[in-house]
């Protein structure tokens, strides 16, 4: 058990290190320094600025400093938002995105699992077919299409929900829902096939033969085992919610970290891009690690592998 966790943690750290390295060298590959803008600064100022940010040193030294700073939890300074620490920007904007993403994950899980189970239990009936058609559509329609369609109908024509910002709980409905549709549909499909698989197993038949009631078989034997693939999906789900938030925050003009990331890319704020990538990547890798450990606790067979 312990060696398994140790191995997982070592992998996670290695992945984070690789991502830091790749982003660092890729960002340095891009021609043009971060201080080049429409108004070119004089050579003296440029030199002073480079010295201040440590950009005059050789690349290897810069890389070493960058790693050392990250280890201390310092991601450096943003360039467009002058002098602001990237960690401060994250602390400021991430809670907004996290709240939105957390609600979306919750919605997806809470609606997706019962929907998939229902489809599996009513296999081949009209209800199953309806759910399958809806979920196929759900995984085929890009988030930005859903988001804008919802915004137009429920926000502009019918005017039930506000279309931008996050002031009241009502403001959350549209963004959370458009963020949650894809994972919800995916979880429902996953749950359906996994539950169908479990329901065909011998131990379910044995339990039924012993006279265990239907509901008890479902909750005690079938659902527990059928949930394992859904737990595995939690890692990719977080990644999906995170990238989805880039789009949703743009559509609903929400002041979150996703929008910050996209604007840092379009304005070529390299330290910011690097810092946010490292932050996002670490978040996802840690999430995957948690899922791995959870998986191991839920399904003890995994350890044997």
């Amino acid at each position: 058990m312990f060696s398994y966790f140790a191995k997982r943690i070592a992998y996670a750290l290695a992945t984070i290190w690789i991502i830091i390295t790749v982003t660092f060298f890729l960002m340095n590959l891009v021609p043009g320094g971060p201080f080049l803008s429409e108004k070119a600064p004089s050579p003296e100022i440029l030199k002073a600025m480079e010295a201040k940010y440590g950009l005059d040193k050789p690349l290897a030294v810069q890389y070493k400093n960058y790693l050392a700073n990250i280890a201390k939890g310092d991601l450096g300074y943003a360039i467009k938002a002058k002098g602001q620490r990237i960690t401060d920007i994250i602390a400021d904007k991430f809670p907004v995105s996290a709240k939105l993403g957390g609600l979306a994950i919750l919605t997806a899980v809470v609606i997706g699992i019962p929907l998939g189970s229902l489809a599996a239990l009513k296999r081949g009936r009209l209800l199953d077919k309806t759910i399958m058609v809806l979920t196929t559509a759900g995984v085929s329609i890009p988030a930005f299409v859903i988001a804008t369609a919802l915004m137009i109908y429920l926000g502009v024509y019918v005017k039930i929900f506000p279309t931008y910002g996050l002031k009241t709980p009502l403001h959350y409905v549209l963004p959370v829902f458009s963020l949650a549709i894809y994972p919800m549909a995916y979880i429902a499909r996953l749950m359906r096939s996994s539950l169908l698989d479990v329901l065909g197993q011998d131990y379910i038949r044995t339990a039924r033969a012993k006279g265990v009631s239907g509901i008890f078989v479902l909750f005690k034997h079938a659902l527990r085992n059928a949930l394992v693939p859904v737990i595995t999906y939690l890692g990719p789900l977080t990644a999906g919610i995170l990238t989805g938030s880039f789009v949703i925050e743009k559509v609903f003009t929400i002041p979150g970290l996703g929008g910050e990331f996209i604007s840092s890319i379009t304005s070529r704020d390299y330290p910011m891009i690097m810092g946010l990538t490292v932050f996002y990547a670490s978040l996802l890798v840690i999430m995957n690690l948690v899922v791995d450990i959870l998986y191991c606790i839920v399904d003890p067979r995994i350890k044997l592998k």
Partner: protein, 354 residues
């Protein structure tokens, strides 16, 4: 009843068996006893099942229509995707500008703007067509790249086995756990400038640069990251097939590795590989439209379905059809490829055979 001479005389102590039953059978009798059907090959069997699957066939027809719409229709369309018609900005579908109305009145013919025009006076229909073309190109090329890299890597890893396999799969594990969208965004930002410089310098590359450096950048990033799923999949297939008795038998008979791969392993996993490749197409289109929507995909004036939708959001209240047209095309394309992929899996995956 007279008994013919050549027949054996019945002995009174015999078991009363009819001696006729033991005569050799003639040809017609032999033919009757053959219960074999005509042998059905794997492909014919799968194809039969695919054709009888209505949903898959409908999606195939839709895909053919979309391909015609994207690749053939623009050749006959009188406008070009980057042509700005002055005075015809922001037209509604089927509307004519004043200048065009004047031309019509004086007897000239003006092709209608089926979906209107955008704020720069470009015909929107042709832009949607070109956007569809870009999305389809991205989907197809990216999946072919993924198919080639992934299956070769996975097949080598699975077939050779041992230490090679362990090392190769560790590399895959690490790439797999890297959040793909982040790296794609970073790569497409970083590759844009160097690729542009490279394309300007090299004559051969300039000829393919009609696609635009950012599109090539998307291909490169896709091929660097998305092959790992395919590699894992092919390796798993090869590992199971390698252990089958018929492969051991072939080895015992002295077949070479090349022959075993060509004659036994490839034919047995090609069906599932095709399915996975088909399902790769919509996911690539998905990612491309996502990137273009964020403004880091294809570069202007080349339209993509994602960038068209993104541009339309600004004027959503006045010109909603500008969003709906590309959005509906994206949904149709992704949905029909997904459904076709599901149909192919039902038809060609040996494990799902009933």
């Amino acid at each position: 009843m007279s008994v013919p001479e050549n027949r054996l005389k019945k002995n009174i102590f015999s078991l009363q068996l009819n001696a006729d039953d033991f005569l050799p059978a003639d040809e017609s009798e032999k033919q009757e006893l053959v219960v074999m059907r005509k042998s059905v090959t794997f492909w014919r069997d799968g194809l039969k099942r695919l054709v009888s699957n209505n949903i898959a066939m409908i999606s195939l027809v839709v895909i053919v229509f979309v391909i015609l719409f994207a690749f053939v229709a623009p050749a006959f369309y009188p406008y070009s995707y980057s042509q700005q018609i002055r005075g015809s900005e922001n037209l509604a579908p089927m509307e004519y500008s004043e200048r065009e109305l004047a031309t019509i009145e004086s007897g000239g013919r003006v092709f209608p703007h089926i979906l209107g025009t955008d704020n720069l006076g470009r015909d929107y229909m042709i832009r949607v067509m070109m956007g569809t073309r870009i999305s389809l190109i991205v989907g197809l090329v990216a999946s072919i790249i993924v198919l080639i890299i992934g299956s070769v890597y996975g097949a080598i890893s699975g077939y050779v086995g041992g230490k090679t396999d362990i090392i190769m799969m560790r590399i895959v594990d690490i790439i797999y756990s890297i959040p793909d969208i982040l790296i794609i965004i970073i790569l497409s930002v970083a590759l844009k400038e160097p690729l542009k410089a490279l394309f300007d310098r090299n004559d051969f590359l300039r000829s393919i640069s009609i696609l635009g450096p950012s599109l090539i950048g998307i291909f490169i990033t896709f091929s660097l990251l998305y092959w790992v799923g395919m590699a894992r999949f092919v390796r798993g297939q090869v590992l199971t097939i390698k252990e089958q008795e018929y492969v051991t038998a072939a080895k015992a008979l002295g077949a070479s590795s090349g022959r075993i791969i060509r004659k036994h392993i490839l034919p047995n996993c090609i069906g599932t590989i095709i399915v996975v490749t088909t399902l790769q197409i919509p996911s690539a289109i998905f990612t491309e439209s996502f990137l273009s929507f964020l403004g880091i995909g294809v570069s202007a004036p080349m339209p993509s379905l994602g960038s068209l939708a993104s541009d339309a959001i600004g004027g959503i209240q006045s010109y909603p059809f500008r969003l709906f047209a590309p959005a509906i095309v994206i949904c149709i394309v992704i949905l029909s490829f997904n459904l076709l992929g599901d149909g192919l899996r039902d038809a060609f995956d040996p494990k799902l055979k009933k």
